[in-house]
């Protein structure tokens, strides 16, 4: 684990257990809160990308009068998937984003567990 920031530890543990390539926790405006990435990935760039995606999701939502975004993802032909899961924590709007390297690799349970742990960490720190 690259540092002892408890939030980063949660991300690193999630990446290790679920075999994600990288993960970030960002505020809705793109400010990076914490990240965990394998060598070669750029968490700051990923976070900026995630913020753009969240902005895009909100644009679509406002037009369709559909509910708040719960998950935003894209699948690439090489099998990689970027999953973004927005959630609220003590009035902060956050986005957990994970880069899933393989097609068909499960991610929902792992990201749900990580969000639950992030809530615990947030409350105790």
């Amino acid at each position: 684990m690259e540092n002892q920031n408890p939030v980063a530890v949660v991300l690193a543990e999630m990446n290790r257990t679920a075999q994600f390539q990288a993960s970030t926790l960002s505020l809705r405006d793109g400010l990076l809160v914490a990240s965990s990435a394998s060598n070669g990935d750029n968490p700051a760039a990923q976070s900026a990308v995630v913020a753009k995606l969240a902005e895009a999701a909100n644009l679509v939502r406002s037009q369709m009068a559909i509910g708040a975004p719960e998950e935003l993802s894209f699948n690439a032909e090489d099998g990689k998937r970027l999953i973004c899961r927005p959630f609220e924590l003590n009035g902060h709007e956050l986005i957990l984003a994970v880069l899933v390297p393989k097609r068909g690799q499960p991610y929902r349970r792992a990201t749900s567990q990580a969000i639950a742990r992030l809530r615990n960490v947030w409350q105790t720190h």
Binding site: L53, V60, M64
Partner: protein, 259 residues
């Protein structure tokens, strides 16, 4: 230690006990069902639930979302039925859970395709219609009719607006397409920045809806499908978008829209 599975999932209990390298027994109750897990030195060594034991019991217990648990520390297992490492056990449980839900989706789709609730003649006519040469607009309408909770289907070009569309609920299509185009451009930018390769599809899940964008071979064209999340099935939606996306590509070539 006692608690409710609504507050702490079985997978979390496994992870905490294993990470803390505990030796313990955890008993579960969910309605009339009972199960138990034994931990020894940081691994699950035995599980039982009804007639199941070993890994099969673990995979069932992990799906319980409600009920109670009772943890007794330092209780040794009477037997060993699980030898798989706990992380691998949880990964397999997650995979099976996802597969189970995909199986349910596939079953639902199979039942719908087989037309179990309709007469054979009606189904025969439908099959003939489906496999005859269809125009892009006919395909859009066929696809829309197969999606439960359908809201909008459209084939559009990022630079040229919507080409074919069908809506089951009131929506300002032109404005929606404009917004989705922005969304698609941002996703494409994101893909480039992440070096993720060419995008196949992207999905937005909201509190109420699914919105699936499926790219039609050429980067500029895509099929957009939106459906009510409480009625639509995501697996079916993806499957139909893929099948009709391929048919749409051929139809667009026949129409001369695509070369």
């Amino acid at each position: 230690m006692k608690g409710r599975l609504e507050d702490m999932a079985v997978a979390d209990l496994i992870q905490h006990n294993c990470q803390d390298r505990k030796t313990a027994r955890v008993q579960f109750k969910n309605g009339g069902q009972k199960g138990e897990l034994f931990f020894k030195n940081g691994n699950v060594v035995h599980a039982s639930m009804g007639n199941l034991s070993g890994e099969d019991a673990v995979y069932q217990l992990v799906t319980w979302e409600q009920g109670t648990f009772d943890l007794s520390p330092d209780v040794e297992s009477p037997t060993i039925t699980v030898t798989r490492n706990w992380t691998s056990l949880l990964l397999e449980a997650a995979r099976l859970t996802d597969e189970t839900s995909e199986e349910r989706e596939a079953q639902k789709e199979a039942e719908r395709t087989a037309g179990l609730t309709r007469g054979e003649d009606e189904r025969f006519v439908e099959i003939i219609q489906e496999f005859s040469v269809a125009t892009p607009q006919q395909l859009v309408e066929q696809l829309s009719s197969k999606i439960e909770g359908h809201r909008v289907t459209c084939v559009t070009q990022i630079r040229g607006g919507n080409l074919y569309w069908y809506s089951s609920s009131p929506v300002e299509l032109e404005e929606l397409v404009e917004q989705v185009n922005q969304f698609v451009k941002m996703v494409n930018t994101a893909a480039v920045r992440l070096k993720a390769g060419k995008i196949q599809d992207n999905l937005l899940i909201t509190e109420t809806d699914y919105l699936l964008v499926y790219f039609l071979g050429k980067e500029d064209f895509y099929l957009l499908v939106a459906a009510d999340k409480t009625k639509a099935n995501l697996g079916t939606l993806r499957h139909l978008a893929r099948v009709y996306g391929d048919r749409m590509l051929s139809a667009l070539k026949l129409e001369g829209v695509l070369v």
